[in-house]
């Protein structure tokens, strides 16, 4: 059903019992139609998906059925009858993708519960919850438990699962759209299937932002039946509230050709902060957050309270920022996606997005953070960091007005996640393979899982699933005489608990601040500031400086698993880079940017300097239309360059680059290297590729044929570091390799297992191993974006425009500036880079710049 938020509900509604009815009245509120609709469905025993924009009272809607049910049960209880000592189990589970969100919800529910004096106990349980409290929660569970997917996995694998979940009535999934697209969602779907086994009548409530395919979410919430079509939950949709006011930053400054720092815009951004009560500043990566924070403080003449919030900062630090924000003590927070999701900041009146949003849905989500009330328009400013980003921002802005959605699909359940779950279920209790198979395939992502594959996963969990059966005597789970699978050793359950979850972080070191500079690591430690990836620390020598938590820190050395730092230090600081922080450009936005490029009528919305850039491109080369792929060749220095503009995102372009260079090598074009951005890809080599095309020595059709994704891909994949990284994740999630645990690591002795080495051994001996299958599956959609590349190759067939130029074109400048960029560069290198960059720009623009 669709509900327009503008329609007033009936003044009295028998659905809402006391004290709820009175409480709404006292506050001058009326229950919103979708809140009543959801309650109605819930009381009729149904499960529902509620799709609503931020500020629509989604959370209260989700909890109303639970609160009312618990309150009424309590009223019906005979006066004086004490609660049984065994006590009821958990009544409602609330699952959120973020710890912070669970804590925020606890705060928000406290008010109505206190004001109505409801007999409801609400508690949170996350990775940060102390062991003693977790233990108590198992013995004496609260009515409503607010928690995360990982905790669900732990709880269902525990021996107490039966008593905990026997009385479970509701499971509420917040931000469901963001949960289900990842392996985390796959694991959670299996957890839900298990909860249903404890409690077949349990009802689900999914809360979600607008998504492209709501039926996927509806199916996710329901138990699926083999052979039938998808079983769907109810759907309640609340139409959007006031349209947000979004604009692209207007600036007098020169918008850079490339790069992601948006330094040029700092003064304008600062001015915007000054003009608003509280601003949220979103960036795409943690390094950008550090950089932006520093740049803002550099010009913070008014000493405005501006804070920093990202996933690598110490939890206590983050909690402080969140609390200060809730108390309105801050004027601005620089944040990454850790603050993306529904945390309720009442008084934010401006969202600034620095860098392109990469997806229209992500932008909508982030803008929703401002003015968290549905009827007031949100206000947002987009700050593109370079010229292509200007177009991307414009496309995202148009999409936002149009309500277009580019949320990623749910994806098919992966084997590594299933392996983890199977071991967990064996830890909980002995199981029969037939039963577990039925249970697993009731989860939407695994609905189509073949029995044969399921059995292979069990074999993998038991002994690694190798053709060479040498590990039978070491099996982790064993088929016993009664036909059930059991854990062979209690130690296995302990191992399982330490390796739970699907979030794999790169190896990280704690950053500990000491007051002693220059004394190395042999000093008493101070506070922990957060974490940084090991690979970054490995690049540092004592005395080097880097930016973290908004401070310039001097690297003193590594002690155990800690990176010891002191304050200050000279020289330009490095900025830690984090793997996996970058989002690829969404297919939808890419298409919009291509459309814009080919249609000069749409340029009116763009700033003059960007229009001029496109105009000169049109004069000096060509602008491709929406369906075409433009390829330009030109000489530069003693090299020949070939630049193409597929707009398919950096990952797909990297894969394309690898495959094209292989083909060019075979055609004797002698390629030397390539570089990829979100928008374009450049290959360079020793022979004039333009001339080779002209003479017919190179064929466009052959070069870009779809068969590229066959043998060439296979051959390349074998060596690809990206596939190795994917394998590492699969190996860790599936439990083939244990995670490293802080405090239990030993440095100096490399006894841990390198996933790369295991990968190589497995590839040469068992290329068909279930974990390699999982890896290839992940690679196709994830890191390598092969699917997207395939779509692109078929789209551009026969629609490639080749333009042989004498010199670099304006459109090629941004990608050309990426060539040879060192990941970390000192000031001297920056100067060289700037010089080189200026030369390239002047040449491209023919002196018009």
């Amino acid at each position: 059903m669709n509900i327009d938020s503008g329609i007033k509900p009936a003044a009295t509604d028998p659905k809402l019992p006391e004290p709820f009815f009175g409480w709404f009245g006292k506050r001058g509120w009326q229950p919103r139609p979708h809140q009543l609709a959801l309650l109605d469905r819930a009381e009729a025993g149904g499960s529902s998906l509620l799709i609503a924009p931020t500020g629509a009272g989604k959370t209260l809607a989700g909890f109303l059925p639970s609160l009312i049910d618990i309150a009424l049960k309590e009223q019906r209880r005979k006066p004086g009858a004490a609660l049984s000592s065994a006590r009821r189990g958990i009544h409602t589970l609330y699952v959120s993708p973020l710890k912070a969100l669970a804590i925020d919800i606890e705060r928000n529910l406290a008010t109505p519960v206190a004001e109505m004096d409801l007999p409801v106990r609400i508690e949170t349980r996350t990775g940060d919850t102390p062991q003693s409290k977790r233990q108590r929660q198992k013995l004496n569970p609260p009515d409503i438990l607010l928690t995360t997917p990982e905790q669900i996995a732990l709880l269902i694998a525990s021996r107490e699962a039966d008593t905990l979940f026997d009385g479970l009535k509701y499971v509420i999934f917040d931000e469901l759209h963001s949960l289900i697209t990842s392996k985390r969602g796959h694991l959670l779907s299996l957890g839900l299937a298990r909860l249903r086994k404890h409690c077949p009548d349990l009802q689900t409530i999914g809360l979600s932002a607008t998504v492209a395919e709501p039926e996927e979410l509806q199916a996710w919430l329901m138990p699926q039946r083999a052979g039938d079509g998808p079983v769907l939950s109810e759907r309640i949709v609340v139409k959007g509230g006031a349209k947000p006011h979004i604009s692209i930053l207007e600036t007098e400054e020169h918008v850079p050709w490339s790069g992601h720092s948006a330094r040029y815009a700092m003064a304008d951004v600062y001015q915007a902060i000054r003009e608003h009560r509280t601003a949220l500043l979103f960036v795409n990566t943690r390094s950008q957050a550090e950089l932006l924070f520093r740049e803002l403080w550099r010009i913070n003449e008014d000493d405005l309270p501006i804070a920093l919030h990202h996933g690598s900062l110490d939890a206590s630090q983050r909690r402080k920022v969140e609390a200060a924000m809730a108390d309105n003590r801050l004027r601005a927070v620089v944040a990454t996606s850790t603050l993306d999701l529904g945390i309720d900041w009442g008084d934010v009146d401006l969202v600034v997005h620095v860098g392109a949003p990469k997806g229209a849905s992500r932008l909508a989500q982030r803008i929703g953070r401002s003015n968290h009330r549905m009827d007031e328009p949100s206000r947002a400013i987009l700050v593109p960091a370079n010229r292509f980003e200007v177009m991307e921002c414009q496309a995202a802005l148009d999409a936002n007005y149009l309500g277009a959605q580019d949320t990623p699909p749910m994806g098919i359940g992966t084997y590594d996640v299933l392996a983890q779950h199977v071991l967990g279920m064996a830890c909980a209790a002995a199981f029969r393979a037939d039963d577990l198979y039925a249970e697993v395939t009731s989860a939407a992502p695994y609905a189509d899982l073949e029995r044969e594959q399921f059995d292979r996963v069990i074999d993998f969990v038991a002994t690694g699933g190798y053709a060479l059966k040498t590990y039978d005597r070491y099996a982790r789970i064993r088929l016993t005489k009664d036909g059930t699978w059991r854990v062979s050793n209690p130690r296995i359950a302990q191992q399982y608990r330490l390796n739970i979850g699907t979030i794999i972080e790169a190896p990280e070191l704690k950053i500990r601040l000491t007051r002693h500079t220059g004394r190395g690591t042999n000093v008493r430690g101070g506070p922990v500031l957060g974490k940084v990836e090991e690979s970054f620390v490995e690049m540092l020598s004592p005395g080097d400086t880097f930016l973290f938590a908004g401070k310039v820190l001097r690297f003193e050395g590594i002690r155990e698993n800690e990176c010891i730092v002191s304050k200050g230090g000279a020289g330009s600081p490095r900025i830690p880079a984090y793997a996996g922080g970058k989002f690829p450009l969404s297919t939808y936005l890419a298409d919009q940017v291509r459309t814009m490029l080919g249609d000069p009528d749409t340029w009116r919305a763009l700033p003059a300097q960007v229009r001029e850039w496109l105009e000169i491109q049109r004069q000096k080369s060509v602008l491709p239309s929406r369906g075409e792929l433009l390829i330009e060749t030109f000489p530069q220095g003693d090299r020949s360059y070939m630049v193409m503009y597929p707009f398919e995102g950096r990952l797909a372009h990297q894969t394309l680059g690898m495959l094209l260079t292989r083909r060019l090598e075979r055609s004797r074009a002698r390629p030397l290297g390539f570089v990829a951005t979100d928008y374009a890809m450049a290959v360079w080599g020793l022979r004039d590729m333009g001339l080779m095309f002209e003479r017919g020595e190179l064929s466009l059709a052959q070069l870009f044929d779809e068969d590229m994704l066959g043998d060439d891909l296979e051959a390349w994949l074998a060596e690809s570091w990206m596939l190795k990284r994917t394998f590492r994740n699969c190996a860790l999630i599936s439990g083939l390799i244990e995670r490293r645990h802080p405090g239990k690591e030993k440095t100096g002795r490399q006894v841990t297992v390198s996933a790369d080495l295991v990968y190589d051994v497995l590839r040469s001996h068992e290329p068909d191993h279930i974990l390699l299958q999982a890896t290839r599956h992940d690679a196709a959609s994830g890191l390598l974006d092969i699917r997207r590349l395939g779509d692109m190759l078929s789209r551009i067939k026969g629609r490639i425009i080749l333009n042989r130029l004498n010199r670099i074109s304006p459109l090629a400048v941004p990608v050309m500036l990426e060539i040879g960029k060192e990941p970390v560069s000192g000031e001297a290198q920056d100067d060289i880079l700037a010089e080189a960059a200026d030369e390239i720009i002047a040449e491209a623009m023919g002196g018009t710049r």
Binding site: F460, T463, G464, G465, Y466, L468, T470, Y471, Y474, R476, N489, R491, I492, Q495, T521, E538, M539, L540, S541, G557, I558, R559, G735, L736, I737, E738, T747, G748, R749, Q750, T752, V753, S754, D756, L757, V758, D760, V761, L762, S764, H765, E766, G820, K821, E822, P823
Partner: protein
């Protein structure tokens, strides 16, 4: 080139480029497969084989592929046939744990025995395998002196005491960065006075030579890392390495 791919694509002997060095005036050859050869005494040294590592992990609940022993032995066979040494020294941690040797599959046991026959074979005791490997020939010692050199598993802590020491244990690896791209390889580490060997087992990891664990062991001015390439050794001065 990692160890497992090395086992897959063994390079013909005549294509190999080794590094000829001296350790305390004793001539030695660093082979790209990660073995050290002393031509004067026709002795071959391999360190940290970590045989049966997969099985050791499987015993503790991690089902690593059971193919590592066969692969490592294939590499040992290759270097033994390349140099035909009169004496082989396994520099400790030859087995990943104490149970490894006893649980060695018969095929691997036969292969090892074949390699050992007709030559002296020393098992230096390591921290993973302090005892004589069960069921195997050869002598098990904690230290061995030969050719003016001293062979032990764990390096002594100071540079001064350890002149002429050849040790393993630390699994040295080195990283070189050029034009923004990093390459990391296992390496021989030597300053001409002592030598720390790369680990030879196919599923062994490496520890960066710039790690604190190596501090004080070498004269940094003289320290050279001999990185293992596919068919040759790449020798790089310590100061040019990235941490």
């Amino acid at each position: 080139m990692n160890r497992a791919s090395a086992a897959q694509a063994l390079i013909a002997d005549e294509m190999i480029q080794t590094a000829e060095i001296e350790i305390r005036d004793t001539p030695a050859v660093c082979d790209p497969l990660g073995a050290l050869y002393l031509p004067e005494s026709t002795t071959l040294i391999v360190s940290d084989l970590h045989l049966e590592k997969g099985a050791a992990f499987a015993r503790r609940g991690m089902m690593l592929p059971p193919y590592d022993t066969a692969q490592t032995l294939k590499l040992v066979t290759a270097v033994v046939s390349r140099y035909q040494p009169a004496c082989v020294i396994c520099l400790g941690d030859s087995f990943h744990d104490r149970e490894g040797a006893a649980a060695l599959p018969p095929s691997s046991q036969d292969q090892l025995s074949g390699l050992m026959s007709g030559r002296d074979w020393y098992w230096i005791a390591g921290n993973h395998d302090p005892d004589h490997p069960a069921g195997l020939a050869g002598d098990c010692v904690s230290e061995l002196y030969l050719d003016g050199l001293c062979f032990r598993h764990e390096p002594l802590q100071t540079a001064g005491e350890a002149v002429g020491e050849v040790a393993g244990h630390l699994h040295p690896a080195a990283r070189v960065v050029r034009r923004g791209k990093g390459v990391r390889r296992p390496c021989f580490a030597t300053d001409g006075r002592r030598m720390i060997m790369p680990s030879f087992g196919v599923t062994t990891g490496g520890l960066n030579l710039r790690n604190n664990a190596f501090r004080g062991l070498f004269d940094p001015q003289q320290l050279t890392a001999h990185l293992l390439g596919r068919d040759r050794i790449y020798s790089v001065a310590f100061e040019r390495l990235i941490g």
